[in-house]
Symmetry: C2
Subunit: 332 residues, 2 copies
DNA sequence: CTGAAAGCGCTAACAC
DNA sequence: GTGTTAGCGCTTTCAG
């Protein structure tokens, strides 16, 4: 069923039907009612595709996830982020297209997704410094916002937390308790957030007058198991750490678990601080002290920034930084 | 840039350009080359919206997730399922629209998503028996496949595992070891999968000649914490269980954890079997014996069934059941 | 305030 | 084999 069936039924022109459907103000009430009634009776829904063809708007935004998205999904961070983006889209009456296309697979498909006119704009979950998809994306000129800052593309909009500052705060907290040998169980340095958190760790140590000991820094892939392995390795040191800053919560939980296996206690023997404040952090034993990031807000703000970028034109790149807080529980 | 710029450049008609773009067989090689070259030079990408308007195909499929989708996302089952669906879409050159629209929010938006012509078909992650969105969806007549069987809608296509049989197998395994008091830590009975697994548990007990003891059946929301709480409750019974069948892995992991807290050992004191075989199951302590479901295949098969439903016409509803296996590790 | 007409970018008969 | 011609279902000038 199409617009002009409604027009016939209501005995008006197609243009008029279009006007009432789009809430055009100056339509006489009784004729507007006639149209509305016809719509009601027939259950007519306008064809979004036809509309898009003329308006050049699809009301659809893309969410592009990094190459390693499959592992990514297992990370509770994304388990919260994605639904919040989806919800933000619904709230703002937009559709969400999820894509994990990478340059590897189907170059042509990637192009058609991005440049086929299907998307009003895209959110890119950046993570790696050298993500090969970013240069293309930025060149394409589609409205774009990065989820996570990226040092190489200052011209792009992004929303992020201040990873460096947050990590630094966590480590300073440990140092202020008199911890002398604070280890870092880190994310891959190839991730921007990984590098930022590592730098925050280092900055805090230096500010506290503590030495940076490479043996206390263990780079991991960010998983629970990697946390266990890292702690196990740290425990074999001649001088094991008396505190651990884990760059995310799964890591911290793994560290805690390994500590328990070794018959050690947190925070008595080793204090541990995590990063994320995922829901289960509060239920760990002991409950995890961790950096809370407002993942939900991150999702909403990102969508909203993109929508502004799509219709308002920013003259300068927008960089929004959301606040984090250190949540003190029992583990440190 | 549009199709007829290419036509002018290559000095052919728009129809011809369209033909080479759509791999129409009978185009003379040299003229095809001329077109291709023009495309190459200009970086032209066809407008998907315009194409859709005439073909009535958008190459986009929808993934509708249940009302409680936010918790859903935290479940590792979905953390694997969603990426696999996304990947299947990419492999089949389709776009994926993710939606968590429910009847509550924005009835009109929901309608426009489904009936606006944006989607060639939808996958619905059913879970609840009484999900209010299903009746509407089925009435809409959009090609549809349910992810998980639903007893009230036999006319719908679905793909699923045999939850009843799989649960029954797990419990029989416990019974065959001589376990006498096998507890069930279950999913909500309002979920189809929850009810099916519970029924499988009961069937296995009856077949093993074991009584059904309501005190040994604890219904939960399926989370890790709920698993802990359930085990704790079971331990307070006059006659605690000597085995537990947990209806998913987070639950089983919680059970294991609580056992450890109570100073008990699996499988010596209490055997435990989970369901899902999520990646971390193998790393639990002790490694978890659990029902493996082929989540990845589930995602792929679902997409493929939908694509068949979209263009092939099935005369009868298709019900695909994927095999599960009991993975024996150390916990039982 | 409303209608007529053009056209968004593409595909698909239908001729030649 | 290739070009011509209609639309797909909507919005949007432009008249009136």
């Amino acid at each position: 069923m199409s617009l002009d069936e409604i027009a016939k039924r209501a005995n008006v022109s197609r243009a008029t039907v279009s006007r009432v459907l789009n809430n055009y103000p100056h339509v006489r009430p009784h004729i507007r009612d006639r149209v509305l009634q016809a719509v009601q009776e027939t259950g007519y829904i306008p064809n979004a595709v036809a509309r898009s063809l003329v308006t050049k708007r699809t009301n659809m935004i893309g969410l592009l996830l990094p190459q390693d998205a499959r592992e990514t999904f297992a990370d509770p961070f994304f388990a919260i982020l994605i639904p919040s983006i989806a919800e933000a889209c619904t709230v703002h009456q937009r559709y969400l297209m999820l894509s994990m296309v990478t340059l590897n697979q189907e170059e042509g498909f990637y192009q058609s997704v991005l440049r086929g006119g299907h998307l009003d704009g895209v959110i890119v979950g950046v993570s790696m410094f050298d993500d090969p998809i970013l240069p293309q994306l930025i060149q394409d000129g589609l409205p774009l916002v990065l989820l996570g800052r990226h040092p190489y593309y200052p011209q792009a909009h992004w929303v992020n937390i201040d990873n460096l500052q947050a990590a630094s705060q966590a480590v300073s907290y440990l140092a202020a308790q008199g911890r002398q040998r604070i280890a870092l169980v880190s994310l891959p340095a190839s991730l921007v957030a990984g590098a930022d958190r590592r730098d925050g760790y280092k900055r805090a140590l230096l500010q506290a007058g503590l030495p940076i000991d490479q043996r206390l820094i263990i780079e991991t892939n960010g998983s629970y198991q990697a946390g266990q392995a890292a702690m196990s390795q740290l425990l074999q040191l001649d001088q094991p750490p008396d505190a651990v800053f884990a760059a995310n919560d799964p890591l911290a939980l793994g560290v805690l678990h390994e500590l328990q296996n070794a018959g050690l206690r947190a925070p008595d023997d080793v204090a541990v601080v995590g990063f994320d404040d995922q829901p289960s952090a509060a239920y760990a034993s002991p409950p995890l002290t961790t950096v809370h990031q407002p993942i939900n807000d991150l999702g909403f703000k990102t969508v909203e920034l993109l929508l502004e970028a799509i219709d308002g034109q920013f003259s300068a790149p927008q960089h929004r930084i959301l606040p984090t807080t250190l949540v003190r529980r029992a583990s440190a």
